[in-house]
Amino acid sequence: MSDTPTLSSTLEPLLTFLAYSLSRLESTFYKIPGSAVVTRYVKSSHQNDPGRTILELILVIFAIRTLLQSRTRGDKQGKHFIQFSEKEIDELVDEWTPESLVQPLNDWEQRDLNSVPVVTGPIGPKPKLLSNGKPVINLASFNFAGLAGNEQIKEKAIETLRKYGLGSCGPPGFYGTVDVHLDLERNIAEFLGTEASILYSQGFSTISSVIPAFCKRGDVIVADRSVNFAIQKGIQISRSTIRWYDHNDLKSLEDASFERDGEMVDLPKLIELKLKYKYRLILDESVSFGAVGRTGRGLTELYNVPAIQIDMLVGSVANGLCSSGGFCAGSSIVTEHQRINGTSFVFSASMPPLLATSASEAISHLRNTPSILAALHENIDTIRSVLDRTEGITVLGHRASPIIHFCLRNTQQHLTVAPPAPDHEAEEQILQDIVDDGLANGVLITRGKHLRGQEMTDSRPTIRIAATAALSKKDVEKTVGIVKASIARVLAKRR
């Protein structure tokens, strides 16, 4: 009993201090403008329903706890977390044997790698091979309009080199926007008839940046089942919901002129649907731009559809204009949005200026000499007509496509997209034999290669022929004749 007064007397200074600081806190709190309203609200709500105060208090605590938690928190708090002692962890670390970083190549991959042709000297319609120094006729490279080795383009490139150096040394946002890039963007937009365009420094990385710039989680992408790999990756990064050609509830529709089998989309029909269902259209013209249509303006020219009806028209500067890089054309709102949200635009150095001027020169070349494209189209017809009459194969794709795929004819007539069959590798072997045989006879062609297992759908193995305007009709006839003979030889051996 005698303890109590002493205790309270020792606590007294502490208590007065507490009371003082509380009143201090209170008065400061009331000095904050608007604090009276808060107090009144809390008081009255407490009066009406004391339970609610407790509930709100819990809510506030919960909110603070969530805020304090790291966003990259692992499973430490999760129910699957197992507590180990330091010693146990050390043992587990010692026991763990990881796999090697990559699995070595299997025989087929090794053969694939060894068979890659390497050119010595300039690439063009008749390059020399490094392996034997012999010239071959080139039906493998993308040189549709025959611009590779064009003297005017080379001259322009050298001129640019002497004024700008080679690299741009910076991303577009940070002094990497060179005037020649803006010129090329304007040239492409004018050439296609869109309001604006934006330049990426690699063709492949263009569409896989364009898609996530506009489509986010919760959006719907409707895409064709055999869109090219870059589009598949773009869709994957965007985390949107994907529907395969199902015209309900559309926000955004995605389509391609198909690099992988040379098929083309029925653009007028798509536009008609677009106007009806109000979706937005992304068209990948990586192959058709610079090759299809009377002057190489691509699918829009072929079908006479104004390019402004396509919201985002993606194309390749590398393939169509024999330079490097890619572009996306559309309204200026669309292109300006990508200047901040296109990942591979923002975070990558802009393309070397001399490649931009080369591409600009290539566009003016396409504009001024429509005869190049006429020659290309004639060569396409020639190739197709010979292949159509060849035994044992089926020619795929649209008749105007500059790349012509053919596959082995088999008994069941599943032509374009066959269900993944176990004998794909065997087919690839046969096709590679044809390619090798062609090469031995002086023709460079290639299999249409895929990353098997990584593509969304495993398509039929094919051989791909890329037409070019740089070869004369006679040369083309002769060359395709050689391919035809190779096919016959290899298939005969197989039987």
Binding site: V93, V102, A140, K163, G165, C169
Partner: protein, 646 residues
Amino acid sequence: MATATSYLSAVHQADSRARRHDISPASTPALSTSSSITSSSEDTVLHESDDNNTGLTYPRTPPTSEQVFTTVHSEFGHCADESYRCVSQHNPDKPVTEHEIEEPPYYILITTYISYLMLIVFGHLRDFFGKCFAKQYFTHLMPYDGYAPLNSDFDSFYTRRLKRRMDDCFSHPVTGVAGRTILVYDRHSEDCNYTQIYPGTKTRALNISSYNYLGFAQARGGCADAVEESIKRYGVSACGSRLEGGSNELHLTAEALVARFVGMEDSLISSMGFATNSTFIPALVGKGSLVISDEFNHASIRVGVRTSGTQVRMFKHNDMQSLESLLREVISQGQPKTHRPWKKILLIVEGLYSMEGSLVNLPHIIELKKKYKFHLFVDEAHSIGALGPLGRGVCDYFDIPPQSVDVLMGTFTKSFGAAGGYIAGPKHLIDALRVRGHSGIYAEAMPPPVLTQIISSMASIMGVTPPVSSKPALTLSPSSSISTLRCAEDDVHPGMAPASAIPSWISLPPALSDGSEARMRIRRLAFNSRYLHAGLKKLGFITYGHPFSPIVPLLIYNPGKMATFARMMRTRQTPIVVVVVAYPATPLVTSRVRFCVSAAHTKDDIDTILQACDELGDILDLKHGHSERWPLEQIMKQSVELVNNI
């Protein structure tokens, strides 16, 4: 003017002209005079009409008769003083400096938060009223004619309401070489940066923004000559992907040279730096593997990891304790739910971080690697060429054998004045990537002119042994002791390139082929980096980053000051273009200006920058560092001492 000799004579003439110039201090340095370059005079080697007062086109002190400079001063500055050099090398006696962060005073943080708060509040108010009363500006953000909005207004809020206010500091169009100086187009806006008006005039400005670490962004000189020759021989394009008819002998040559340069067995080249990460990382890891990634890793790495569909965990930037405890956790826990052991763990770090300027703690990571058996991927986008006594990157800097790292990745955009990237590693790994990476089949191969720039600049950094088997003629430019010592061991990793490793038609001038010029560049870069770091610190600024890092971030904090800083630098008597970065590239409060030092800068240039920062720092109240302060004059006078004593 194409040949080197005619160019040299032009330089000499210009030099004598400069000597005749009366180098009186600038009296009326109106901006308009320096920007009145007509387009016809641009193609001449030296711009007659450029204003000399700024020291951008002609050196302030004309060269003496025995000094011969082979570079254009506006591209690569003339600096003959051998004391302004330094060797970029780790001192093994000292511990690796951790990423230390100096905190600003509280009022700076509070005002910064208030600034953002105001921007956000007013931005939303303007959005709200704009959508009610000025619908024509918002059509792409609202449902329109049955179409869903193109972008969500929430996603684009930052861009529209915060970035647009300082759009004049970004994406400034330029022309000419992005070297020591750069020509920027003058522009102004009358409608709050919605549109920019270009009167067509240009201003030459000191360029402390481009990734031109070794100063190889040049339109003249041995490398440019080689590129011109390659365009004549090979054309402009590779016309296809690597595996489908786009492979050229130059690809093989460049890949072999890169492997030799970085000290790996083999390498592969991709036509875009960003795509090197984003298309090859998915070929390394997949289901059942784990990627451990530094929180400040570049976007390309994130895209690559996301594309691969692998699990990913992050650790605190450059924090080895955080890394180790994460490693212990993930290895002991195994895969989520199933608790099966991970197939493999890949640690991805950068050599030099582009926003922080911090250097990876490689020695510690190698130690951890031995214990925890993870695979190591080092992205040397910024460090290759820029660090190490021989410019071979972080491994060279720390004197760690490169093969103790599994995969070395880097880009050619920065130190080599080219474009694209590489991945180097053991041969079986590179072969697998060639076949399984996305780029091999689907992406265009690198064009021949770019390959030639890579080969010629890289060969000049390595030095080329003469074809005759005599002793390498690699001596004795006055202070090249370290480099010569290490180059003496032929054929071992940081050795020279044999003449057979580069195409015979590339003939580099002697200063490039014996490696002396590149060694000078590497040592100039090291000096400039250290000097700017130390100078800014002594002036009282808060900076981040490693003293040897050519990236020097100076902390500004307040968003308003950031734009003002960039504008005031640009409109100075000697215009300086700078890069300012803010959220989302950096954490919200730590807005910064990022200087990218180059070997092309002279000591005078760094002085100019320090002086500008000193003045602006006082005006904008940016000096909040706690270290000892020196007056500007003392810093400039004792620069060598300062650099050697960090």
